[in-house]
């Protein structure tokens, strides 16, 4: 019984902190975890008293555990999500002849050299060889776009460049073309450390992303942080809970059997939490992406990664 209680509590409870006390149910849940006062108990003597004592101990223990865990993952304990996948999947990711996302990267290379738009220019006409010009670029996105007054992710930056430089139409989110170009560009940063800017202009957006990450959402009233900050390394439905480091996107997800963006992955998690997913390209998703990349700062880029 106590184990079941622990599990439920692990999912539902969190110490009320000024940063994370967003959900309406939080106060009620926190007070429920306080040890019940013995004199108020309707239970009788003997074994019931004993049970009550155990309950008090368990509750006290829970409060302690919950308080101790509500924090960021220390920098030196951060691990790429590829640390949590099977050796087979990791081998598939690291072998360019086995990583299925490499097929998409090749499509991206073709698109990079394909002329488009009213200017009839290809990406390569301005940027040259992506192996040089795009090296490290994906590790710096999302980034603040002065013309929009807010950050854009790599996909949006590609579309900005298509619209303003190529005078071409924007590619749809999650379209094969946009994923291919993104995967091709991100591939050029493999092995380089994630290094998004966190200057004064960008900080408010990273903070907004953090607030979303820590906010309880959806019918399950979960926050991203409850799994990925507090319970990483444990199992959820038989699968290890990773730290949600964003250093491998776009990813080839075996479950999807195709390549997908970080925004798709975030929407996936949101629907798992039974929250209404934000639209593709919405500021909320970009802020979240920005925070997740900032959180993964210094980790080596693995794009295009393979995930289960």
């Amino acid at each position: 019984m106590s184990r079941a209680l622990l599990r439920v509590a692990g999912l539902l409870m969190r110490a009320p902190s000024p940063q994370r006390g967003e959900g309406w149910g939080e106060g009620a849940r926190a007070s429920r975890s306080e040890p019940p006062h013995p004199t108020l108990s309707p239970l009788g003597r003997g074994s019931s008293t004993c049970r009550l004592r155990i309950a008090i101990c368990v509750s006290a223990l829970l409060v302690g555990v919950v308080v101790a865990r509500a924090a960021d993952i220390p920098l030196d304990q951060r691990r790429s999500d590829s640390d949590f996948i099977s050796a087979d999947t990791r081998a598939m990711q690291n072998d360019d002849t086995a990583n299925p996302a490499m097929l998409v990267v090749l499509d991206g290379e073709t698109l990079w050299n394909t002329k488009a738009g009213a200017t009839n220019k290809s990406c390569a006409d301005c940027h040259g060889d992506a192996a040089n010009s795009m090296k490290g670029v994906a590790a710096r996105y999302p980034a603040f776009a002065a013309e929009l007054g807010r950050p854009v992710d790599l996909e949006q930056q590609i579309n900005l460049s298509r619209i303003t430089d190529q005078k071409a139409e924007a590619l749809a989110f999650e379209s094969k073309e946009l994923l291919a170009l993104t995967a091709y560009i991100a591939r050029q940063s493999r092995g380089m450390p994630v290094a998004v800017k966190d200057d004064a202009v960008s900080k408010p957006f990273i903070d907004a992303g953090r607030a979303l990450f820590e906010q309880r959402q959806g019918q399950l009233e979960l926050s991203c942080a409850q799994c990925h900050d507090d319970n990483w390394g444990k199992k959820l439905a038989g699968n290890p809970v990773p730290q949600a480091m964003a250093n491998g996107y776009p990813i080839y997800r075996l479950e999807w059997q195709e390549v997908g963006s970080l925004q798709r992955r975030l929407r996936n998690c949101l629907s798992g939490m039974r929250a209404e997913p934000y639209d593709f390209g919405s500021p909320e998703l970009v802020d979240l992406e920005y925070f997740l990349m900032w959180r993964a700062r210094g980790l080596a880029m693995e794009s295009p990664a393979v995930r289960p």
């Binding site: 598939m92 360019d96 002849t97 299925p100 097929l103």
Partner: protein, 106 residues
């Protein structure tokens, strides 16, 4: 047609066992899934894969709907002579894609 990635060692000693890796982009739609309109998504799979070594068949596989998208097939063969390895994938409609790789055997 589809994009394929093949890995064959460029050179090998006569009698060596060599590993060959092939990956091709294909949806491998099972035919058992229902689309957003409620209609079944029609089956669309590669159902045959053959590798020949200087014309002689060295590997043959029949694929079924349970094979995941972008089939990755890896196998071994013995390096006998310099020449060409030809890989061909045929889908259920009979369309075939052939790709070749050269190997030098000393």
């Amino acid at each position: 047609m589809a994009r394929a990635l093949i890995h064959v060692p460029a050179s090998a000693k006569k009698g060596d066992v060599i590993e060959i890796k092939t990956l091709i982009s294909h949806v491998m739609e099972t035919g058992y899934r229902i689309g957003i309109t409620g209609q079944p998504i029609p089956r669309d799979i590669i159902d045959d894969f053959v590798c020949t070594y200087n014309g002689e068949e060295v590997f043959h596989a029949t694929l079924y709907p349970a094979i995941a998208a972008n089939p990755y097939i890896t196998f071994f063969t013995v390096a006998t002579e310099s020449g060409t390895l030809a890989f061909s994938w045929t889908d259920q409609h009979g369309a075939t894609q052939v790709q070749t790789a050269a190997i030098t055997v000393e």
